[in-house]
Symmetry: D2
Subunit: 380 residues, 4 copies
Amino acid sequence: MSLVSKAAVLDGIEGQFHIREYEVPEPKQGEFILRTEYAGVCGTDVHMYYGHLNTVEYPIVMGHEFCGKIEKLGSVDIVDSNGQQVKEGDRVVIVPGVSCGECYYCKIAKTPTRCSHVQAYGFLPNREPHLLSGGFSQYVHIKYENTSFFKTELEPHIAVLTEPLSICVHGFQRAGGVRFGSTVLVQGTGAIGLGAIAFAKRSGAAKVIAVGGPKRRLELAKQLGADVVIDIDDVKDPQERIKLVKSETKGGRGPDMVVECAGFPGAVPEGLSYLRDSAEYIELGHFTDVGGVEINPHWHILRNNANIRGVWGSDVEHMEMTLSIIEQLELPYDQLVTHKLPLNRIGDAIQAMSKKGYSLDGKEEVIKIAIDPWQALANQ
Amino acid sequence: MSLVSKAAVLDGIEGQFHIREYEVPEPKQGEFILRTEYAGVCGTDVHMYYGHLNTVEYPIVMGHEFCGKIEKLGSVDIVDSNGQQVKEGDRVVIVPGVSCGECYYCKIAKTPTRCSHVQAYGFLPNREPHLLSGGFSQYVHIKYENTSFFKTELEPHIAVLTEPLSICVHGFQRAGGVRFGSTVLVQGTGAIGLGAIAFAKRSGAAKVIAVGGPKRRLELAKQLGADVVIDIDDVKDPQERIKLVKSETKGGRGPDMVVECAGFPGAVPEGLSYLRDSAEYIELGHFTDVGGVEINPHWHILRNNANIRGVWGSDVEHMEMTLSIIEQLELPYDQLVTHKLPLNRIGDAIQAMSKKGYSLDGKEEVIKIAIDPWQALANQ
Amino acid sequence: MSLVSKAAVLDGIEGQFHIREYEVPEPKQGEFILRTEYAGVCGTDVHMYYGHLNTVEYPIVMGHEFCGKIEKLGSVDIVDSNGQQVKEGDRVVIVPGVSCGECYYCKIAKTPTRCSHVQAYGFLPNREPHLLSGGFSQYVHIKYENTSFFKTELEPHIAVLTEPLSICVHGFQRAGGVRFGSTVLVQGTGAIGLGAIAFAKRSGAAKVIAVGGPKRRLELAKQLGADVVIDIDDVKDPQERIKLVKSETKGGRGPDMVVECAGFPGAVPEGLSYLRDSAEYIELGHFTDVGGVEINPHWHILRNNANIRGVWGSDVEHMEMTLSIIEQLELPYDQLVTHKLPLNRIGDAIQAMSKKGYSLDGKEEVIKIAIDPWQALANQ
Amino acid sequence: MSLVSKAAVLDGIEGQFHIREYEVPEPKQGEFILRTEYAGVCGTDVHMYYGHLNTVEYPIVMGHEFCGKIEKLGSVDIVDSNGQQVKEGDRVVIVPGVSCGECYYCKIAKTPTRCSHVQAYGFLPNREPHLLSGGFSQYVHIKYENTSFFKTELEPHIAVLTEPLSICVHGFQRAGGVRFGSTVLVQGTGAIGLGAIAFAKRSGAAKVIAVGGPKRRLELAKQLGADVVIDIDDVKDPQERIKLVKSETKGGRGPDMVVECAGFPGAVPEGLSYLRDSAEYIELGHFTDVGGVEINPHWHILRNNANIRGVWGSDVEHMEMTLSIIEQLELPYDQLVTHKLPLNRIGDAIQAMSKKGYSLDGKEEVIKIAIDPWQALANQ
């Protein structure tokens, strides 16, 4: 008897999410069917809802941060990206981006996040051959050749964080890693900013400064390792913040690394002004175009002998690194997922993450919302 | 009998150069007196003339790109930075920046160009204890502890290029070197841009594209290794230039490295738009503040997975690397010095390099002007 | 009418090469048939002949350094690894190693030469499904998924060098590139050693020292850029060679990089003794096990603050870098191929490269032997 | 009234330690007198006792790992290497190696641990001008130009660990840092091995394996972060250890990094055999010559695509990085100092660390012995 999967289908830009049912196909050789446990709602999903990604076609089943259990294997020889054999019932985390493995960026530049033919679960139109390819669905058909995934014994509400946290791991790697004993400043305290805080400390930073807000996120920042938090609601003037940041660093030189996870154009010149000379600036926040900003090439780049890295996504390597760390359960990663919602509340999640200032149902503070496609649909 | 040195003293911002005479002191233990052969006129000298460097005090004897012969040693045990013993009569190239060797940037960050207490020949006020510390003088008193210099057998009109050319060597080093077989684009065809062209090819680039002008410089660019030259007078529209550049690269992806040596703010977003994804942008041009420019953090930095390096000056290491290469005399480096002028024509040199569009005496095309302090003064 | 291909089949360890004929199959979707122009004989082929590679199964058609023209495309959409569309008649260079693109080493460590499931043209048993998979054959069936190749307009006797030369490019890359202005010493003057000499200079070395022999190879070393050659027949004592090498370097410190391409165990401690402190040692020579050697961890590794890299093979990236450079035709690469032989002289080639001290037909000095499978068979 | 300092003077190879008294001089401009709190006994001190360092002259006051309080400043303008002003009474950690700041290795290679003219506190003959230059003394005259030191508020029994722990920080830095989420294996569980264990985890390792002994050290290894400990007394056969190590790593591939802190020649081939392909081997253990060992260049270096780093000492940078971390007091660093002894028990300390198998007074397990020169002399 074949399975049926409920999925949340977005019908267009700023459209409706419809809960539809699809028959789950039989997986072929090398493929498998995943029974989704959680799928995180990402800032990129918000941008797709508002039509900011011009490559997206609608209708679409979004959801690229997801994990679950293998429901049915198409063949018995399937191994994860660590070479471990998997079996039905195993929990796995899927790497959403499927790079072609053949193009210049995959084979020669070895930066597969810029693959010329990348496709990704959660970014494909909801029609054949892409049905059941997004995480906002009870089952996902894992079928694209070169799909990477990792077996894990993490609980699913932590495993689901692997993808968003891997972005900061890519960022640190691009900067040659976090200098041991250094001071790292993170701009922005959303899910990626909080991950950067946690991992900066875990990668060797002696001191971590978080600039963000609101209060509840700054509380969690402290639990994840931030030594100093600066609330942008308390210190509204960027010049004041620059002075304050400098005063929190050795010799007043400024942080050794600044990680931009705010995604606000003005954060860039401000963050470059925090930096000590000869240091690292990691740009993670502007994954979509939210406008330009004036910088001064002399003061912001050349005179401070700066290194700036733009970091696009993450690849299998960064997922593996991330998972290996969170599997140690050393930090309260589980506090990052603040809400678990059914399929028919994705629209609410998107509103919370855009127009409603990270509040949901009027009272709660949203960090990461995970969709549980098996949760009973909400009355609406 | 003591020596007397003529020197060109600039009396203030946009002031006069006065030829003054100074008694040359006896060098002490570890010091020496250099008989200057050539001192190059740098874009930074132009900026100092116009008062764009707020740390400079006047009157001043400028000149930080200089070489000459050791006239008198203060002690017999003096060695150059390669550990070679020197004697009177030896030709040496002076490293103008004297870093303290003690501060955070010298000892810990190991980026001495950002030394907290740097002083530099050619940047000090013309009074005790700094008399005879600039290259626009017949003799220079090499006296600051930690001064670095290199013995060389190069002819002086080539040796004088070591310092300006070392800037691009620092730039390439910061980017992890030039990728073997890559395509490098250089924006700007002044002395540093031309050096970047020559050294990109010598460091392993397969193809070098120069964007600059005017014609005569582009001719020299070709002699130094440029495979393609784009005259900004011929292709005036930046969007056209972007298309043209892309079309000159493999798969239309864009260059693997872009080196900004133009020093014009608009060059930065244009250059970032040339770049292939996951590539290197080296900012060498904005050694002074000539204004801001709008960039888009998404398109110019993050989406193309870019690496951007601001490169401040050069240190002993880069001077050593540069000298080792130009000593091989493989390229027509001597064509970079287009004019040799006496001390009382520094003002003309500065005019040529600022208001007069690189023309001197109405007809010639200026690249690098070298001051020969022993040349008979011009009638004026 | 279907094509027939002559191929040289080695029947076992130290066995015979038989010239057999095979029907050339129709290429399927994504595949093509290559008409081989040249296939180089590599030291590894010699080792396979003598049974030193325990993974090899016989009978076998060897030949992994090869280029030719596309005889027949299996589909019209085939592009090379630079994304360039190819058509029948185009000349291409094949990357022999076909990494799986899926395993830990391919996706996570990003060192595909250590792929867990690598297969390679020229290393597979001569039976289905591997018929016509080695370069010592008139036609090669290019069929393994993930096969990389590059279109080129180089003449074939130069194009055939891409693979062996790419080994040194991998070596330099692993060491962070050749330091600009540095002194590089190459141990061994076979095909790879000569390539290392040429490319060290082209990558930015100021001075290249070659230690090897015999005379004719040292002559070619000079033409490719060696500034100093040391003939091991003239200077037989390693201690003498160490002194001599040191005397050829600045301050007697030793070379900044030593590249081991001799493949003789004693070369390793000798080469480590050449090195200046804090420098780079690249081990390229021991691609097979030719025995052990005593080293002293204190003197050879720790005290000189050395960096040592073992370099296994090359991947698509290094082939692309190499091809981009040799396509510039700046050096007499064509002198590396000293002999072009028919299929039934592979045995002679192997004898020349092992027992006969690089002499063929009693008089000539062998560097690289290329097999031309279309040349008339020799009378034997 | 001038101060008098007791110091422990070693009179020759395998000689006696005599407690002598010296008048403490007045510090000059830029100098200061340190009142020693602790001076650690290092394996190098043991080697100097036995005459294994051929550059050492006797009699000597050893002790290069030391901290204390500033007793008297020679001038008021003295700042530490972070640019912080110091005053009398401040606790400081001294960087023992004083590099010249001028030579090729200081300025050009930027690896000051290989400085051509290095001198170091604790390594100089006990005669003018070097009196009171070793840590095994109540006062040390901090007088060499370019001496680096750091102010700290750490307790002295932790501050004294900065120097030995900084060696592993140098090691990790040389390998490009510890890969985030990786598995690191440390060979040897002495003070440096234990530091490597602690810092590997703190630098981003997910899993740390320690191979060493005896039991008490392995217990401390666990407290400092080792996830797996392998007692070499339990698993005596290296081949067994290799199997066991592999079985403790993902996919049986072996550790991503192996740090050799055992200083036993056989550890080198064994450790290289643990390593996964394309990984990092850091050689910290052989700071003196304890003999050679056979390696196989094919299997140990080339075939596994290995990177091997010899790491000589540490410099100011590594001391700063180390201090910044241990100041966070996140781990039980204080358990590393197992014994605090008076000046006249240095001989006992050396016996414990050489002939007596790390036992002192018949019962205790020695890790790091710190000399407290103010402790009442033991009856002997």
